[in-house]
Amino acid sequence: MFFESSKTPVWAVVATLVVAALRPARCPAEPALPRVMATTSVVADLVRQVGGDRVVVECLMGAGIDPHSYRATPRDADRLSRARLVVASGLHLEGKIAELLSRLARRTPVVAVADRLPRERLLPVSDELFDPHVWFDAALWSGCVPPVRDALAALDPGGADAYRAHADAYVRRLMTLDERVRARLATIPERRRVLVTAHDAFRYFGRAYAVEVVGVQGTNTESEAGLADINRLVELVASRGIPAVFVETSVSDRNVTALREGARARGHAVGIGGTLYSDSLGGPGSGAETLEAALEANVETIVRALAGGDAPP
């Protein structure tokens, strides 16, 4: 518990007394399930898969929110303080929040799932930092399941068996999904198996499923692209005859639009292959509320855009 150990400031006590006098009758409390706070919708899905209905999962940055542009509200603080376990994605995906979470760990268990992955399986972006977008490699993502399973078991020992069962099932599903995705993507001719996106969120995906991945922007959505980067991509798309490029749900599509125009000026028409889920999953009703669904949706979009028709030589 966060503030179990902390003392309340005097003026807060005074306020409480005032409030106690004013407070109307309230509803009786019902037995509460442990609340788990996940930072992103991807992680929230992971916790739901493992926790099942034994935990209440809340998500700090909801569907469609780019973690880079997240802003907190006081209600988020409420939700964080209610949580008995915090699950983060890790590898610095959460930016400033990550710093905070590392300090939070002193009082509330915090699990940064991707941090637990073996370093040799990660893609470095610098000496110390790794690309955090690990979830679209289903096999790799399955490595994030055990930390969640163990953390939930520690929180709620009574449900340890259930969590283990859920986790095993989920890992099996992810491995099957992995096979399926690989098979599906293999239908695209290898020369055209190039994924051009707004920002670099698909490098693990590309590595796992033998897709060449090029992002206009770096891994960070808020840094600005340089003209040389755009020109380089235009050159690549036009010379390789890539039929389609992709936009993302949570990232501006300006760069991709400029890219298409540049390619068209070189006499090469590039379609918008469709919208990919990258940093967050789909909202309710989108059909991509879970990671599995989002990954399959992405794969379908990619295959449809890149496999069909004849590309120019």
Binding site: S69, E224, G262, A265
Partner: protein, 418 residues
């Protein structure tokens, strides 16, 4: 479409768009700088976030035209608030700018966060609108930028006289019947349009920079508004072209900030090297004024004693007294004269190796310097006479390096008495 060899389509589009913004922002921004409202554009740029959020809330859509419309309304409202605050409250201009900026941006953040927290579909990431993506301009963007820039420049050119008058002396303009408030609002609206149009292309800070830096740089080179405007526009344009070219030349260099840095480099050059207002020119002028004057006086003082020569401190006492600043000027002049060979040791053998600053030995004037000293004293006497008898002439023609009055007035009455 024919492309110049080696220049890609995207480069051309970006150059065209950013250059148009650069030119127009320089022209429009000039009046902001002259009116001491250089950062009004910054306030407008920050206010657009609230406009974007409200436009999204009102329509539920996030197409660029809708958001641009909202941004434009918000920018004009913010600048209107700025003018209004100035009229109804006695808050200073800079504070009013900061208030409008801080509060409107805060409102924007509150709205965007509220939208995000409620999970309204499509509401996430609205603030990306404020971030520049200069490298990702499309042909349509560039056309819009060029069109808006052309209109803005035309409006400024058409209203040049009025804008100059109102910026220079609003009280006089009002007294002679010009609608000051209207002109004020018109200028402000132009800035708002430039900012909003430039935002998606360039980002808030870049737009602010383009509205401020080129005009300030241009101001260093000229004292006339009709010259300043095209110069500011030209600086903006040049920054755009060079910045974009640099960004195209090397990978991973963001285009917008590079344009700003080029503009900053132009400004730095202007700041130091502009002919009259430049730092170097001023400093040289100040040095020259002190130097010419003090050297003349040192020569005159040194010409007086004959025979054995003179000691350095004797001359110093006569020219500079005990004042530290005067001593410093004297030291400079003395050193210069020694370097020129005007002052030479009276007895080289006795004083040993030449010691320009040395106080020990006796000194004398070279023959050539004697002539100079006599000439300086003659001109000095002549000007003294002119200052005394014909102050108006002195006021128009006298400069610190004492031109020969004979060549100016060609008038025997002013010939110095010999």
């Amino acid at each position: 479409m024919t492309l110049a060899a080696g220049v890609s389509y995207n480069t051309l589009v970006v150059v065209a768009g950013v250059a148009a913004v650069g030119f127009a922002a320089g022209v429009v921004g000039s009046f902001g700088v002259l009116r001491r409202r250089a950062l009004a554009g910054d306030a407008a740029a920050h206010a657009t976030l609230a406009g974007v959020a409200l436009a999204f809330l009102a329509t539920g859509r996030r197409d660029l035209p809708v958001l641009l419309g909202g941004a434009l309304v918000a920018a004009i409202a913010a600048l209107g608030a700025l003018v209004l605050v100035r009229r109804v409250a006695r808050t200073r201009d800079d504070a009013a700018t900061a208030i409008v900026l801080g509060v409107s941006f805060g409102l924007g953040i509150a709205l965007v966060s509220g939208i995000t927290a409620r999970g309204i579909p499509g509401g996430a990431g609205l603030e990306q609108f404020l971030l520049g993506h200069a490298a990702a301009l499309t042909a349509a963007d560039a056309l819009l930028l060029a069109g808006a820039s052309a209109v803005a420049v035309l409006v400024v050119v058409a209203g040049l006289k009025e804008a100059t008058l109102v910026s220079f002396d609003p009280a006089f303009a009002a007294a002679t019947g010009w609608p000051v408030t209207l002109v004020d609002y018109a200028l402000v609206t132009l800035v708002a349009v430039m900012v909003v149009v430039g935002l998606p292309a360039a980002g808030a800070v870049l737009v602010t920079a383009l509205v401020v830096i080129p005009p300030v740089a241009a101001r260093q080179w000229t004292d006339r508004v009709p010259t300043m405007l095209p110069l500011a526009g030209g600086f903006g344009l040049a920054s755009a072209v060079v910045g974009v070219a640099l960004s195209a030349a090397a990978p991973r260099l963001a285009t917008g900030p590079l344009v700003v840095l080029v503009a900053a480099a132009i400004f730095t050059a202007s700041f130091f090297f502009a002919p009259r207002r430049g730092w170097l020119a001023r400093r040289r002028e100040q040095r020259a004024v002190e130097g010419v004057w003090t050297r003349g006086r040192v020569l005159a003082a040194a010409a007086a004693p004959a025979g054995e020569g003179f000691l350095r401190h004797e001359i110093a006492a006569r020219v500079a007294g005990v004042d530290a600043a005067a001593r410093r000027r004297f030291d400079g002049a003395w050193l210069a004269l020694v370097r020129e060979g005007a002052l030479v040791p009276a007895r080289p053998a006795a004083t040993g190796p030449a010691d320009p600053a040395g106080a020990g030995g006796r000194w004398r004037l070279s023959t050539e310097a004697r002539g100079r000293a006599a000439d300086w004293s003659r001109r000095m006497r002549a000007w003294d006479e002119i200052v005394r008898t014909r102050p108006a002439d002195a006021r128009t023609s006298l400069t610190i390096d004492l031109p020969d009055p004979g060549t100016i007035f060609r008038d025997d009455a002013t010939r110095p008495p010999h």
